[in-house]
Subunit: 436 residues, 2 copies
């Protein structure tokens, strides 16, 4: 009768259990690095996005006029919001600022595999440090998260680049290039054919010879980076290479250098990046699009009216996104199953005792269900099985007449009796084995 | 330069730490009862709300037409969404269904203390049981959550009523009453003056004598409930009273009867309620509005095109809501502070060793920060203090020359040295005391 909206997801408990494990893992890694949770609005003024990206961005936004005449948009990403929040409290906040949060974002794009109109990201950002070790810490959170999820070096690859290498090379051609247009074209290169790429670069102001030379330079690998400054004659490129190498050295100290490949044609689409940028890819290529990405955006805070504040961040898409495709491809997607510690099965009028036992077990932190639908023995046992209950405690009138309950292990089917007054007793997690 | 939108909140880390503790507590209690997490869309078709509540509801919604011409609304509450989800998979879902989720909702209302245009609720619902013990379990989750947050019986009061008592009494007057209008008027009674209340009831079809009699009957307390059937001559009222008493008896078994007061003039504003309803109030009256509420809505699933499916639920507002006001009034609001287990302080070129120690401590599950901004000793120590670091590990060039690090307790200021190769070693959570 009513349908969910195209590109939006209803996530039911078994599938959500897997997503929750992914989210908890990523948040746990970020928390270990000292990133602190914030909460942010779902709506921002539309001009927050239009000022940076132009009117055409509105086509991709859920934007509208609210009842008070405000032009607002459902947030398509977090970076402008956190930049606004840093500016709003820049005097009070002690630096470096390390923030994280997990929440939905919305973009009016055509849904496809791994792309939804509503998707969840865990955003992890550092404000107030221009040091390479800050970039490395962002790479560390991202790589440690994937490893904690069960991925190995053979599964994924961080393609690492530097915006100033790209723009430095473009500037070195000494022609009138629109650097933003050129970088957006580089970002699309893998998705379009070569002629279209060259046409785009020419439209941005390069001549075809420049494009060929540009492509040669972008193909420089890790061990050739030192030559790039000389090859371009650009001090800016040389400085960017030095910064990129310092970031990779700091990543080595954090144990995550092995997940990084220098890949200078990795551009990232968004305009606000300024330094190191990176994208995570499926190393096998089965998942063909970037899984997620991040990078440095040192100018954004100032452009929002704040004091100059360097910044770097990453945003793994943790639900309704590409990351689950990678985890499934690699065979490490968590079980889509709910778990239950105890089901308290009532037979006859035993509710008061059953409720007491359930309350005691819950107080010890266990997940405990009991009959709330006045059902038969068999129906309750079937339900206990359907929720993957480990132990069923049968509270029957006959047992209670003997001051006993029955403790049943649902894996083996074995059961035994236990004195009702000693259940759960002092045992932390009483099972069949404690009473057999 | 950019402002957040009126009625929306930016929540920074210290305050968020308190909110997170509240959310985790409520979710932990619900998880203990076997409620399973779901994830739900932020947008629904506007007709999902209009069909139930009429066109006037749109005035309170963030509703708009999306780029595809769909009339959509940012969800103002979860109940219609979960009803839609139950209908969508009614054949597959084993009953009873027990779902929970924490997420924001949006209503275009005038902000006031404890009321925001974006607010977070933890929704807890049972589908597929009409038994009083299901209602009691919802009361149990709500009361246990508040107790787990530190509240006591003297702090809060669940005012419990029954929709069929209200509508049964109204019907018993044998006059042409608009029951929905009358119940909405009862719901507003505490917020409007008495004349306005009487006018509203008369407009709904009662004459003033009926209103007076109605008010007398609503004043019946717990120990007078048995007389209510006879006093109204209504079997429907008698049945409702019996159901209400059965719910309270089941709540007694769960240990939460003491938090409930029979209060027949508690109506709940929403149309879809059918049975027991309740609202949580500050027992001291300092927080004057209802903190949250819940109840039974047995007809909603069927009205959405599903098989008849009884349902009952509650939705504590866990952030940007009234609950924090109650917790603050009672003096149990969690500390608004971040915590940090270790700060690894670097002096000189010691990054590799500092990074190794930080990684090892993180692997044991600790929150560990280190220098990412190339700062002085004093500046690092000040930062470590600002993030409430318990232990500072100083990794200095001189110490390392002696194969040592310094372990400093930030509470006492005491410090001692530890062999660098044995730090952290096998100790789960090494502190000053382990090496002094």
């Amino acid at each position: 009768m009513y349908d969910r909206i195209k590109g939006f997801s209803d996530v039911y408990p078994p599938e959500m259990a897997a997503h929750r494990e992914v989210i908890d893992t990523v948040e746990g890694v970020a928390a270990g690095y000292g990133f602190r949770e914030i909460s942010t609005p779902a709506l921002e003024e539309t001009k927050l996005y239009v000022d940076k990206s132009g009117e055409e961005i509105v086509e991709e936004l859920y934007s509208f006029e609210d009842k008070g005449g405000r032009h607002v948009s459902m947030t398509p990403e977090l970076t402008p919001t956190v930049a606004r929040m840093v500016v709003a409290k820049q005097q009070e906040l002690s630096k470096p600022i390390k923030w994280m949060s997990t929440r939905p974002f919305w973009r009016y794009e055509e849904p496809q595999q791994g792309r939804f109109r509503e998707f969840y990201q865990t955003n992890v950002d550092i404000f107030g440090s221009a040091e390479p070790v800050a970039d490395a810490e962002i790479l560390g959170v991202a790589a440690d998260s994937l490893v904690a999820l069960g991925l190995e070096a053979a599964d994924f690859d961080f393609r690492v680049s530097h915006r100033d290498v790209l723009s430095g090379i473009l500037d070195s051609f000494d022609t009138d290039v629109d650097v933003g247009d050129a970088i957006r074209t580089v970002d699309k290169r893998e998705k379009i054919d070569h002629d279209e790429y060259v046409d785009g670069m020419v439209a941005a102001g390069l001549d075809p010879d420049h494009v060929a030379r540009f492509d040669e330079l972008l193909a420089f690998e890790s061990d050739e980076l030192d030559e790039l400054g000389a090859a371009t004659g650009s001090e800016r490129v040389a400085d960017a290479v030095e910064n990129l190498q310092a970031v990779l050295a700091a990543a080595e100290d954090l144990g995550v250098r092995e997940y990084c490949t220098v890949s200078l044609d990795t551009a990232r689409g968004l305009d606000y990046y300024t330094g190191v940028v990176f994208e995570c890819f499926d190393a096998t290529g089965d998942v063909s699009r970037a899984v997620f990405g991040g990078g440095r955006y040192d100018d954004l805070i100032e452009s929002f009216g704040g004091q100059p504040t360097p910044a770097v961040g990453v945003a793994p898409g943790v639900m309704n996104s590409t990351l689950p495709l990678l985890l499934k491809r690699a065979g490490v997607w968590p079980d889509e199953a709910i778990s239950t510690d105890y089901y308290i099965l009532q037979v006859g009028d035993t509710r008061a005792v059953a409720a007491r036992i359930a309350c005691d077990l819950r107080e010890s932190g266990h997940v405990v269900e009991s009959d709330i639908a006045d059902r038969s023995f068999g129906s309750q046992l079937g339900y206990a099985d359907s929720i993957n209950a480990e132990t069923v405690v049968i509270v029957g009138e006959n047992d209670l007449a003997n001051d006993e309950v029955t403790v049943k292990d649902m894996e083996s089917g074995d059961e035994t009796t236990a004195p009702v007054d000693e259940f759960p007793g002092d045992v932390e997690r009483p099972t069949y084995a404690d009473f057999a």
